[in-house]
Amino acid sequence: MSVMLTKFESKSNRVKGLAFHPTQPLLAAGLHNGSIQLWNYRMGVLVDRFEEHEGPVRAVHFHPSRALLVSGGDDYKIKVWDIRPQNRRCLFTLHGHLDYLRTTQFHHEMPWIISCSDDQTIRIWNSTSRNCIAVLTGHSHYVMSAFFHPKDDLVVSASMDQTVRVWDISGLRKGSPNTGPGNFETFDTFSTVKYVLEGHDRGVNYATFHPTLPLILSAADDRTIKIWRMSETKAWEVDSCRGHFNNVSAAIFHPKHELIVSCGEDKTVRVWDLAKRTAIQTFRREHDRFWDLAAHPNLNLFAAGHDSGLIVFKLERERPAFAVHQNTLYYIRDKYVRAYDFETASDIGLLSVRKFGSPYVPPRTLSFNPAENAVIVTISSDNGMYELTTLPKPSSAQGGELKDSSVDGKRGSGMSAIFVARNRFAVLNKTTQLIEVRDTANSVVKTIKPPVQTNEIFYGGTACLILSSTSTVVLYDIQQQKTLAEVNSPPVKYVMWNADSSLVALMSKHTITIANRNFSQHSLIHETIRIKSGAWDDAGVFIYSTLNHVKYCLYQGDHGVICTLDNPVYLTRVKGKTIHCLDRSARPRTITFDPTEYRFKLALLKNNYEEVLYIIKNSTLLGQSIIAYLQQKGFPEIALHFVQDTNTRFELAVECGNLDVAMETAESIDRPDCWERLAQQALKQGNHKIVEKAYQKTKNFDKLSFLYLATGSTDKLSKMQKIADARGNPMSRFHNALYAGDVMSRISVLRDVGMYPLAYLTAKSHGLEELAEEILEVAGLSPADVDDVPSFGQSNRKPPPVLNPTTDLVWPSLSNGESFFDRALASGSLENGVEPSYVNGDAAAGSLAALDDWAKDEEVHEEIDPEEGGWDLDAGAEFAASHEVQEEVEEEEELGAGATPGVSEIEHWVRNSPLAVDHVSAGSFDTAMQLLNRQLGVVNFEPLKPLFLSIYRSSHTFLSPVASLPPLQLHVRRNPSESSPSRVLPVAARSLQSIRSEFVDGARDVAGNRLVNAQATFRSVLRALLLVVLTSDDEAKQWRDMVTSAREYLLGVSIELERRRVAQEEPDNIERNLELAAYFTHCQLQPVHLQIALRSAITVFGKANNSAHAGRFAKRLLELKPDAKIAATARQRVAAAERNPRNAVEISYDEFTSFEICAASFTAIYKGSPSVQCPYTNATFQPQYKGLLDPLTELTEIGASASGLPAPW
């Protein structure tokens, strides 16, 4: 093992206990200082801290499925915590131990907690009743660890008494009358020591079960790790691992590989081979002793706690080596090269590389050469090696052993090796800094000294290499041996070319550089989370995965999230809406996603407005991000179409100058600042009407007056004057008077505010002498007093006359680019040719037709609605009660809103489905009958009553969860995965399958000559088929086929019954007897039943001496290839007919003209004669039966019009 990759490290007080969360990236750490830390090791953040224990916490464990943590401390207490951030707290504490707690653990399925303590006992607690349900005694010293078996009812414990014990706790599961706390004697009966494992020379610190094998691992102060095996009856020591040179604190099995991981006070973490018991790897720390170890149950992750913190690490790289060529993914899993076909999903092994490099190290990279059908695999063990092997033909690989690469593989040393041409590959030797180009015979043809310190090489296009160095990437031409281009970038780890090799993505730990093929243009994306892999989609968008997201990135650098990931995946290919990837265990997977968002952005970027529009109209793009994006990219008018929120709409409308929308939204917001912004924008655009409205709303009188002046709106100005009067604001009055040129009111304002001098002068200068005198008088002055006032002469100031009335005119605004979208979006339909080319016309037409269908369905529903309403009122006590409530609601406002009844599930059912059966399930018999009548012409419902009732009662069940309350009615759905009320549908009481089996029963009755039974069965089949749930075209077709064959059988059986009646009651009517026998053979039965009909006809016709007819039937019989005996008689018949080709009785039967059989009169209706049909089964009748009840099914009116079954899928 050459890798131990540290993923996360924290510094803290000494860590004594560790536990991984089974599903979330959380790690709990119990600290010596009494606190419990909850780390998100993926993000590297401390999520929470629980500090209620006094003294060190040695024991922590997560609940396997609920958000619970159990901890135990030196305060003798066990605490169970709710770890949900909103509810975090200690739920309860279990008391009972009398000394330090060492380990605690939840059971994997029972509500049990196991704990062990220095008080020499192990206890099992019931976390629901919070009682101690068992005390396991027997250890004679501290119990250092105790764990449940992952499947069986066993416990393994380790103790300072130098033993490991296995306990049988199966007695506990059987359940026992709970005796409550205090009765310790009874506990012993539950659990017994099964094995005592002796062998360690010192105290044992840790013992654990293997997750799947019957093995136990123990770690002890005698510096050894021991492996024990157990059988049903005994347990024995298998071997020891020696190597730690101080106490071993813990040892655990690797959850997936045959490895052991251990840690100890010798400051090391060691990895051992479980099969060979040899040390593989040692990881040393300078100063810190290790105290605890935990393995993630599913992932390749381990955590170790030491004196000054903890580390989370993994043991090997998990990135599978892979290469994609056309539709095939070549990848390596478990040291086998495999080929996976993206289209057929076939996945086959091709080549074993088990003997290549260290057995513990997976291969690092794989390069595929389609011309030679060869691969180069590299591995990092032994300082880097490569191996070139040709792949066997897939066909030859089948059966027997796979080819092993060591047979003809050509090896060499080198850190990275890739194909650069059909028959050349390049190998980088990192230490000597030489790149060798070799041919397929593995001999060097050229040696290159790279221009920069190179860590890794990648394919760089024809005859080129991409060299990755610490700070740059170099595009290097092999032939010319020179640098073509160089881009600064952190060390590049992976390189991906797009389909037509025009763009390349250079990925490093936290950045992606997207460059064109000669690196002349490039853009850089920075990610805070580690980048794992990437692939190009067909449209030239780069899709990449980080530790926890799948994201996309456009060539100019825009990027966004597509979906989140629970665990990292390695993308191999993106096609349409499907991402192909490999997971950590190198299994191919697919992820379906919605590419709309980036397609939309790409279309915007390329100014492809038709496609933008198409996407807007056909998909549900929503959300703040897309709006912000549009706004930021300068498309507020498009963003406007996505926004519902009025505030945002207003902002966008103002920004893109869409005054209509702005006005509309401003009215609903109605805040002064909005109106002010609207006024500003409208002023800019010269739309004074909106300005006016906005000023009015904000009561901005001054500006309003000035606006009226500017627009020459005199009548409104005079109104403003009045308003100013009413407001008593002299300044405003003066302004308005000035604007309106109204001298009298100007003077009166001046007088009112006591500015007599100004009033006097104004009057005087406007030649209003009398008024001037009057003012003087009021001021208590005489004309003599104002002698010294100079005379100003007459003023003729007036507002300028209105030349062009603009009151009703608004400054014309130029219609610009936005109108493209406005028009298209407003008109509601795309003009021809606007659709993007990839949608062909047929599809659009199809969708249009589908829409029409929908519309039709809608109409149907509207017609039904009134009935539904009427039905609601009858829906039973539940409803009656709720109506009462409603009445009271009006009085009781406080609770009123809370108690209005909602829409019941059965109403949803009725709304959601146009199928009669669903209406029956909902109990809406009335509408169900209407539907049956309209769709299939059913008029006689009597026979359907048992079906209706049994379907209805099968769709509802009752449960009373709360004592003494009336039970709740629950409704059984056929789509339990759906919880949205608009999509729930009732359970399908009868399936096509079950009806088919009934049909088969009927057919069996026919063969067994139980015709009356058969008739009843086929009738019941036809009834049941009326009320069956169909979900696809395919099922609809099967349904129709079954209806038709049931009809034919029913018709045949009825004819035969009639014939027997005739033979019985009218023995002389041989003619009719013969006719009916002949018709029976024309019902479309399965060959085996048709044979019966033919043989019966042969017999009847034979008796009547109609040997010509009989011969014909015999011929038909022979065509069906009956068995030998029957065939022989038939041949005799044919021969007889040839000898005597005559018919004794003349009957109306012309087998040479095709005919239908009237299902009422059992007479032939020859082709071209008039007929009417049953609207349900399409059985044919003579025209005189129109309007009567179909005698076959006894359900429908013959000849009634019917719309047929709807297709709601």
Binding site: G876, L968, V987
Partner: protein, 312 residues
């Protein structure tokens, strides 16, 4: 915090192990657990539809408001459908008013019990608004919440039920009853394919400290809702071997009817016959009878033409 005996009794009661609670021996009359245990016992009798036994159990002269309420509820249930029920309701109304006063004897717990019992009776009588009002919009008693939630669900307001549940989550412990409430809501809304109720009932079945056929029935019903009919049948069959009640019988009939086999259908019909004869008052029986009339009414709207038959 309750003593562990009482905690246990409460747990049994909540999970519908009424039989077990009924068979309990009462603690010492001076113990603080005496009255609560007595109340649970009496309520279990009522839940088993045996109000007479409850009336015998509770001393008639008790001063405790909660005990009085139990008596009234028992009287109400006994008299349901007759004119006497109104007087029992009146008693409960008086009690609910009485506990609002300051001078009344009794602990908070007793008062909460009175509200729950009164609410139950009102809901049974169809007075949903009154029930909700009595239980209180801001109650911090989980039993009351359970009743409120069920009332909301019965009038098709799962949104309100959910709100009520979210509200109680804030103050309630991670209580068994709270989990039950979550499950009830899950049963009605069908969220996550009925995951919540399914795991809850499965977990409780694994609970070694109690056995309640009701839990089995509930899981059976959940499985019906999850369209797992054979599994549901086996649950319900097992429940029936332990204890026969209308609910299990009805659910078993539904599961059999949906099992898509010939035998299932016959079984279902037999079970329905049995159900309607043994429990003529069970809502499903009443409902079916109503639907049968509805069918006849709806059918009458169509005139059936004469059967087309051969003139010959």
């Amino acid at each position: 915090m309750d003593s562990s005996e009482l905690y246990h009794v409460k747990q049994q009661f909540v999970l519908g192990a009424y039989k077990t609670v009924v068979d309990l021996t009462l603690p010492d009359p001076n113990s603080p657990d005496f009255i609560p245990t007595l109340i649970y016992k009496a309520r279990s009798h009522i839940a088993l539809n045996d109000p007479k036994a409850a009336l015998q159990l509770v001393p008639a002269d008790s001063e405790n408001v909660a005990l009085k309420a139990v008596t009234s509820l028992a009287k109400f249930v006994a008299a349901e459908g007759t004119s006497n029920s109104e007087s029992a309701l009146e008693e409960l109304r008086d009690l609910s008013v009485e506990i609002e006063g300051d001078d009344v004897e009794g602990t908070d717990r007793d008062k909460a019990t009175v509200r729950v019992l009164a609410g139950t009776a009102f809901a049974r009588a169809g007075e949903l608004e009154e029930a909700l009002e009595t239980l209180g919009a801001d109650t911090e008693d989980l039993e009351a919440v359970a009743v409120i939630v069920q009332i909301y669900l019965s009038i098709n307001r799962p949104d309100l039920a959910k709100k009520e549940y979210e509200r109680s989550k804030r103050w309630a412990e991670d209580d068994l009853l709270l989990q039950l409430i979550e499950s009830i809501i899950g049963l009605v809304t069908g969220k996550d394919e009925y995951h919540n109720p399914y795991t809850f009932y499965t977990e409780q079945l694994g609970n070694p400290s109690l056995s309640s056929p009701h839990v089995l029935t509930a899981r059976g019903v959940t499985r019906i809702l999850r369209n797992e009919f054979p599994e549901a049948q086996s649950d319900l069959e097992e429940a029936l071997t332990q204890h026969t009640d209308a609910e299990t019988l009805a659910a078993f009939a539904v599961a059999s009817g949906l099992s898509s086999t010939k035998k299932g259908e016959t079984d279902a019909n037999e079970l329905w016959t049995r159900l309607s004869s043994e429990y003529p008052r069970h809502p499903s029986v009443v409902d079916i009878a109503k639907k049968s009339t509805l069918f006849d009414e709806a059918m009458a709207k169509y005139t059936v033409p004469p059967l087309a038959a051969s003139a010959a």
